[in-house]
């Protein structure tokens, strides 16, 4: 079974990567399995300076999902280059750097610094958990276009834009990214949510709101990828609630070329490896002979062969 896939900047042996922010810089999970088994690693967001992030509690449990408001805590781009990337390089796994910022200048500066050391950039214009920067770029096509254009100009490697689902029209955002020179899309970041504790009468998350992730959001992500696949000719890294090889196949069929697994790493730290192990059999069971073949499958299928009706 051929699991490999070629994407801008990433020639990966399978389409499975841990999602940004759910895997730190890989050290912790390297206790669980050999990181070289992964298609690639998407690192935790990098900002120019180190950030402490939001107050705690930073996570809350929801039905089939969770809220988080970490607030982009990270040691800053220089420390990531110095202290984190060498470890991943040594493991021999392709690296994607998730880049965040408060201003266009910060995005540009971080990309300029980090892009020579990684295989691709994931431009995070969609983090709902920081007060300034981040999400406003991700909800206005014009602002998005501006930051993407400038980042693409300075980047040494292809730039994937990570889209926010908190928008009326995801296609409009995807088109803006495409026109601004993005090489690919990452879909989706978290949906803004809140949980209130009736005991304290306050939001559970210190920040008030947090980003909703996990199985709960999968139908929204699948819908958005399905829409964007039809409208924009860019490869998509799909994510949101992936927990099994079947879920991966659903993403591929919707139009993703590769996927990232986020919160499920917390449920089961071995999940990425397990999904990789199960993927060949799953593809086979549903009649596919490669990952490539499944991509966008639902768009090519003729209607009318519905199981219930046959």
């Amino acid at each position: 079974m051929n699991l490999s896939i070629k994407l801008p900047g990433l020639s990966i042996k399978n389409p499975i990567m841990p999602a940004s922010g759910c895997f730190a810089f890989g050290k912790e999970f390297s206790q669980c399995y050999d990181l070289s088994e992964l298609g690639a690693v998407i690192m935790k967001a990098a900002t120019k300076e180190k950030r402490f992030g939001n107050g705690t509690p930073r996570v809350a449990e929801t039905a089939s999902g969770m809220l988080n408001a970490i607030g982009l805590q990270n040691p800053g781009v220089e420390s990531i280059i110095r202290d984190e990337i060498p470890f991943l390089k040594e493991k021999g796994v392709p690296i994607m750097a998730n880049v965040a910022g408060r201003t266009v200048e910060e995005y540009v500066c971080v990309t300029e610094r980090i892009s020579p050391y990684v295989d691709a950039i994931e431009l995070n214009i969609s983090c709902p958990n920081v007060k300034e920067g981040g999400v406003q770029f991700g909800t206005h096509p014009q602002l998005a276009g501006e930051v993407i254009e400038q980042v693409v100009q300075v980047s040494h490697v292809p730039v994937y834009v990570k889209l926010s689902p908190n928008v009326t029209d995801i296609v409009e955002m995807a088109i803006a990214a495409s026109q601004a020179g993005a090489s690919g899309l990452s879909m989706i970041n978290t949906l803004t949510g809140m949980k209130i504790d009736p005991k304290t009468r306050t939001p559970v998350i210190a920040n008030g709101t947090g980003g909703l992730s996990g199985a709960a959001i999968k139908p929204i992500s699948i819908r958005m990828i399905h829409q964007v696949y039809q409208a924009v000719d860019l490869p998509i890294i799909g994510m949101g609630g992936i927990e099994s090889a079947e879920d991966v196949l659903e993403y591929l069929l919707a139009g993703a070329s590769a996927v990232a697994i986020g919160s499920a790493n917390f449920k089961n730290p071995f999940i990425c490896k397990e999904v990789i192990d199960h993927l060949p059999k799953t593809l086979e069971r549903y009649g596919f002979s490669s990952v490539e073949q499944a991509i966008g499958g639902v768009h090519h299928e003729k209607a009318g062969s519905h199981l219930l009706r046959s």
Binding site: G21, C22, Q31, V59, A63, M66, K267
Partner: protein
């Protein structure tokens, strides 16, 4: 660290809303020190639940947890009788091998008491005298009293006065402090703070709690500000046990 389907050897009420759970499995062989914890997964809950290892026995391959019902997850836990998916052992516990003390003071509040039990036993094994101050809400919620009494002096406080001194652990702290040359405490953050403030000159260790995502250091959910250059510690992997002077409460 392993993820193990551990079998449940026994699971019984210990006090009001409080249960003792004895698990059997290979994980016990990886425990380094008292104060480490496990991360429990249950069907229908998206996040795991962190629970301290209260006692462990490599010979019989058992791990004992003591937990209190606080919400839906621990409520559901009470119904488990067959096996449990457990990730562990996690975190840094009390560095028992490096501890040099003559007389240790242990201060536990509510479900902060369990991890101190295995610590107390190991301190005694090293020849350290142990005095314990255990605080509970009421007599009905108190547990492990005899177990601690077998290891040294025990002072009980209850918030409603139904057992021991009426009040909080800090109310008896000052009376005990003089005798000890090191303290160990686990409980709500407010209590840890009060204890650390009351014993500024005694070396001490705090075991902390925070809501967790991964439990292994990868998500930054569980940070506490620290006094070092990095500025933070992750409770799940740098802790849950810290030297009192390391963290900012």
């Amino acid at each position: 660290m392993i993820n193990e389907l551990m079998s449940i050897l026994s699971h019984e009420p210990l006090a009001e809303d409080t249960y003792r759970l004895v698990l059997h499995g290979k994980m016990v062989h990886e425990i380094k020190e008292p104060g480490q914890f496990v991360h429990i997964r249950m069907d229908g809950f998206y996040l795991r639940r962190p629970v301290s290892i209260s006692d462990y026995d490599p010979l019989n391959e058992t791990i004992t947890l003591i937990y209190k019902v606080m919400g839906d997850g621990t409520e559901a836990l009470t119904k488990q009788n067959h096996s449990l998916e457990v990730l562990g052992p996690l975190g840094q516990g009390f560095p028992i091998d490096q501890i040099h003390a003559n007389h240790a003071l242990l201060i536990g509040g509510g479900v902060g008491v369990p991890p101190l039990y295995s610590l107390a036993k190991q301190l005694r094994r090293k020849g350290v005298s142990v005095t314990s101050i255990l605080g509970f809400r009421s007599k009905e919620e108190a547990f492990l009293l005899e177990d601690f009494e077998a290891l040294g002096d025990v002072h009980i406080t209850t918030e409603n006065g139904t057992l021991g001194r009426c009040g909080r652990v800090t109310d008896v702290l000052s009376e005990m402090a003089g005798n000890c040359d090191m303290y160990f405490t686990c409980g709500p953050t407010a209590m840890l703070k009060a204890v650390a403030n009351d014993l500024p000159d005694t070396p001490g260790f705090l075991s902390m709690e925070e809501r967790m995502g991964c439990g292994i250091g990868a998500c930054f959910a569980c940070v506490v500000p620290s006094k070092d250059e990095k500025g933070y510690k992750r409770i799940c992997c740098d802790g849950p046990v810290f030297r009192a002077e390391e963290v900012v409460l």
